[in-house]
Point group: D4
């Protein structure tokens, strides 16, 4: 792709010719029509959008080599004026070792397979994102959500191990539920937690099914279907094990 500046220059040159009478306005219209639209600043707008969302720079580690991951991290770090946090999801220890050599402040969270490089501690989200999870085996996904939301500038609080079969454990923390601005609700097996949580609060609940379980959990399908059929009307759903995506949406809502 040619750079954005180049395109502006091209258009400028075209218009200069019109200004100088070297090209008729009508002929110029004809030429402009054949320029790809992005030449008139599309990419720039897109760049603005990235800034506006305050998204951290994110690398999906799975399927990349450690060298590739480290290379992308290196490129990101060179953009010195940017102070955005860097996040690698679905990473492993080998990737971390390589990234660590690029940047000493990189941290690895083995439970969730997340690498973080924190360059800014600024909180830009307006309220607290509460990350609620049902069982201990849901914690890796919960941790991915917590770290992602934090790297994106949010105040995040975890509330773990509050499954619906021991409903009092959840109800005990009702004040924390009602104080959150957005809730991420993570559960495997029957995926019932978001319905109960959704019924207790008035804020949006983003449900994340996990692949926890065996047999008829079908790798998270049971939880996914349960959440899609939630009888609480403030619940929406993301993909199985997608703690990252839930945190993106929650962060996006928390900036409104």
């Amino acid at each position: 792709m040619r750079s954005n500046t180049m395109n502006s220059e091209e258009i400028l040159n075209l218009l200069k010719k019109v200004g100088e009478g070297k090209l008729s306005p009508k002929a110029a219209v004809g030429r402009l029509r054949h320029l790809p639209f992005e030449d008139i600043g599309f990419a720039k707008v897109d760049h603005h959008r990235a800034l506006r969302q305050g998204y951290a720079e994110v690398i999906f580690g799975k399927g990349k080599t450690p060298a590739q991951v480290a290379g992308i991290v290196h490129a990101m770090l060179r953009q010195r004026e940017s102070r955005q946090n860097i996040l690698v999801t679905r990473a492993d220890a080998k990737m971390y070792a390589t990234v660590k050599r690029v940047n000493r402040s990189a941290k690895f969270h083995p439970g969730s397979g997340v690498i973080t490089i924190e360059r800014s501690k600024e909180i830009t989200g307006k309220g607290t994102i509460l990350v609620v999870s049902a069982g201990t085996s849901d914690i890796p996904v919960a941790e991915e959500a917590v770290l992602t939301a934090r790297m994106m500038g949010n105040q995040v609080e975890p509330l773990y191990d509050v499954g619906v079969a021991g409903i009092h454990r959840l109800l005990e923390h009702r004040s924390r539920l009602t104080e959150a601005r957005v809730i991420i609700c993570i559960a495997g097996m029957e995926g019932a937690l978001p319905s109960v949580v959704g019924g207790l609060v008035g804020v949006p609940v983003i449900a994340v099914p996990t692949s926890t379980g065996y047999g008829a959990s079908f790798g998270g399908v049971a939880a996914l279907l349960g959440m899609l059929n939630s009888c609480a009307s403030n619940v929406t759903v993301v993909n199985i094990d997608n703690g990252f995506g839930a945190a993106c949406v929650a962060s996006c809502i928390n900036r409104l």
Copy 2:
């Protein structure tokens, strides 16, 4: 099948011949070996089992003509010594009209499509069966369970409209939950109710998924999967919309 009495007679005749020396014991063994086993009383044992279970006589109406249903009811009623209640499930108004002509005390329950002929009010179950349901659209299945369990001689109590998205409605009735000896728990959509109920009590919970819902409820599959993956360990599951089956099992447990 020849009647049981006949078979006993045949064997009796055989043994009489042995007793009279007309047949050697060895030859008799040979003959007995070739008699179908039910000739030596199997059906009777089976009959005993039916009595022991206290099952009402049940007719599955769906797929039968009104005349067929009425005919079976008529045959049952002729066995005067039996005082078992008669139950027709998945029936309709036409079937009822025909059955009504056979027996004036027949009652139709249009919500659940159940016809009942109550010939005995004896309570043979040891405790109360509580039938808990989540939404109003689950009530037909719940009613099938209630009527079936009652016809089978149980004290039954309904507890409707206590879905998990308004958890306080359920918790309000905790004493009724803890007083039941067996609980039937009926829910569509995400099917989360049995997990919550199962966590609140120490008795067996029989979960019935319903075909309530639309889209990704897949005609009850979402609820079914949710229930099979219940994180409460006292929950078992029957087929979608199978209020009848749940009541059979509950009744069976309640007699232990």
Copy 3:
């Protein structure tokens, strides 16, 4: 369920006895422990929550008789102090005729099967909810979303017929996309619209798969899976054809 006032009175009486020295504090603790918790005001808190969410009163029409629907509407209208709008979803012309007799200002929207009784025009949502849909057959679901969001006090704008196979139709309206505070994105078939829309904006996108299509659309499953796998990270998903649920969540976000 006993009324909330009664419960408060009971507790008050209990405490009065303590105040009068007729009951020791220790004995009172014992008694309180056995009172169901809702007796100490839970329902009221819940009532507060309803007010706080600004949810309209909603009746799910499907599976109810016209008389039942009209009865519930009548009960709602009697609560004169409430000025909340009333919404019946999945209704039909017969239900409407009956509701119309109860309240002359009721309106029927046959495309989406929604009945509305508007009692308040107050806008309580902070920004605009844009309802984007792909094909003409998605419009009923879109209309359900539009009407629900409006009845819940939001500024709502529809943007229909902007499917991804004619991407320029969507891009043409980019300014409307970027001006929205929340976007509901409705599509059947391959369900690709939310990914494209999500990539163009920085606000939350609530994706609604529709049962539009035939063959391998499997009644909306293809669109549902597409949306759950969206490569845009600001997309969450609700159940197939659930325009109502999407509007609830959008409204809930729009009040933050």
Copy 4:
């Protein structure tokens, strides 16, 4: 969670103030309303439930490190007054080695992956739980059920290798079937065994589909569907390979 005693004290202090006239009864009601309900004894009730069910302490090993498993076992053993048996399911040899160091009496059952620490041999179940299985490859699941039911204080008897394609093997043991109080019936492939067993007895049959088989067994789905559609009305179903859950329910029934 703050301890239960603390909460009782708080309430006691509140009531003392009322008794001393330092707080009006009306003001006390207001304060009580804002206390989380579990503060008034909920957890205690829950604790009672645990005792009442006589459940062994159970650890789900899968997904935990050997150190975590051993740590939990260690904590359980410290509660010296408790004499409950300890059970680790889905464990492996490494976990066992670590647990063995914590408690010398721990035993490992490699077929089913169960670790048991037997601290009580008391039989609290009223009758015999019979664990029936179809093929040799179903035995690991059967063993999980047998061990779980034993650890929970039940008389348990195994009856293995009685698949329906050799129906006489099953019929031969009819007396054992009819003597059981609860039957757990474990089968893979077509999952037909519970229907046949259910038809031979009058007690509840808990069916466990196993992931035995290949091809169109779909990891146990064929057996699961078969069992859910059982034509015997005293059959309920738990998740695929869930020998543990079946034993919990059976134990729960056997205490009634």
Copy 5:
């Protein structure tokens, strides 16, 4: 397609020219190579195959108009030299009325939707085909199998209502099972019957799943999977409700 005779004539003419020396053998090879192969008798071979199989002439009624069905029947009847029976499957009363006008001896079997015109009573199958079915709702499929097998020249015997939940009913008829040369075994719900029957006999068992049932029977899928996973090794399976196909295969085996 040109008629078979014509093609033979063409080849004959070609060969005559060779015989007359008007065409060299080599040139004739070249020409033959370009003749479509069916021109040298393929259709005739195929015709032989039809005769050899002794298949009745069969019309699949579903999706055809009564006039079309009657037209095909009429054309078949004109081939007077043929004495093959005529069978219309998945027919209805309207089709029958029209066929009846074409041939007075046509009979309609409303349970299975089969029309038969019997032109030959010759028995060409070597043994008896036993058609075993589980429940009363499986009888339509069983009847389709019985009629098809009879029309194809087999001695057929029905054995209905011998489901596995009352195993003694089946065992009672063991002699009939062992006397059959081929068994067709029809069952819905859990589809367990073929496994039990297969284990009792040494002949091939053709299993037909039926769409009987509700909920998790998924229109016969549960039974289909059960049968495909049968633990009896003499069981093969045909499509759901395919009584016709089972009879074709059984007939085909019975002629060996």
Copy 6:
């Protein structure tokens, strides 16, 4: 959308101002950047594409009222300069009656539910599209394909009833297969036809699964999966029953 001419005028005006010195080239660049790109001729390009593809104007009838369909047809007919054929798919007799009033030359094809208005007989496709189908119940889908391809200016030939269980019927027509430039291959049930056809020719084969069949055909899924797994490497697949789509692609290929 504003018309294309308008947009060109706007740009022309802008450029005229530059030419007149009223606006600096640099300022003009800025303004252009904010114009939606379609304003510089996007729609026109798109229009060109439509012409280039030679697509007929197509209306998807399903879900539209007869009045709506007729209205769209009427609008199309007013564009007198266009001579494109008009096609309504998934239409019914009522729609046809209304369209007939708008245009007397409209024809209805009840088998496939297609309405055609032929305004041009020009053949623009380079070769013949052969539409091969397996069974008589596949003919409606085949007819939709034939009519669509014809309306789009192709020479089309049908070849029906050549299913793989009578392979000689297909082989007989091998010359027709090899003479086609593109083949559309339509089959239900096991969907095996495209593999056989694909192996006999060197041209692209577009496979269309149909919803023909019952039981385990799952509404065309069996055929769809069969075709996706075709062992012939010149086969691609479209949606179940999508004769229209297959013809579009075939037409698109036939113009290359």
Copy 7:
């Protein structure tokens, strides 16, 4: 199980007592009724069935240890009077090494994972079983079928690599197809081969889907569905990859 002789003796003793007048015939009937039916010779009948079927002794290796497999083989070999062949399916090299030590004539077929010990070369099947397979990756399943059918005393012929995309390869061998008495037809991917083969012959075709393929073959489901929907009426189906089962049925047919 007590031995059959014992049971006969018991009955003999009973009858002797009747003969000796020590027991009344009526009392004897009562006692007989309580004897399990298998005591009167059931097992013997079953034993006869095994002999009659001529099945080889078969061990399903998967899930057993090498020692277990060798142990069972050893036990089989001790029954010297039996000359039945021994077959281990789904075995591996380790199992073979252990079995080899037990019996030097054991042979391992690594492609199919079958171990054979041939003790009899007697051909008891009446005709030839032809094993037809589509692709090279289907050969392991084909080999399992070939070896099983041979060990069971059949003349078996393989015909490999005759997939439908090169139909001439299959047609070339038409004489071999028509000479077979039973055909086993093995194919993965679209599973079209049995339909084509079934159409060419008049004998039963047993179709075996294989898990060959990737993506939408879903581990053999595509082939399975294709075969269940076969348009040839002499095709039945066994489970995915079940070459063993297909050979059992074919052998069973070939003995008729």
Copy 8:
């Protein structure tokens, strides 16, 4: 299979006898009728087809041993007169090492697992095949498509990383899209790319779903369904991850 020449000779001999008067023409017709049709040149026609398609020689590596792959390559190379390129798909490094020994010019492409031996650089396709892919993890499949299409004599251009969530990246390259003669469009996750691309061009688009993704992508099923339901009418679909098949079809189209 006997060679084609042999068969011709046989026929020649037959015809010579006719020419010599040793055999009557009529008798010769009879004999010819029983010759398998392929003996008169079928294979030759087939051979012509292979040449006509210009397909490279392709070996599917998966499931073959390195020695087998090398052996086939060796055999191909011996046919010196052929200059067709050789392609091994789904190969690994071990296979490559062995092939390399057979032919030094063999190249391995580890990303896609493809081995190529280029013997001809002739471009026989008429235009450019553009291979468009969405994400970096789709590149292995894209590379398989690129290499296959190149080996088959096409001008191929890759266009990677243009997913729909950043629609401008795709639009930027619109000229490349419109210049292609055939487009292969590869995407995982929601599989939306082909719809957008299809809407932008007038040429055929062959969509390849990839198994990229996790959770509800179900190994590529989400993308597959999305593509089958594409709202762009110039899109057809091949199996999941089937870059090879897509290239075959594209090549086949590009030669038209």
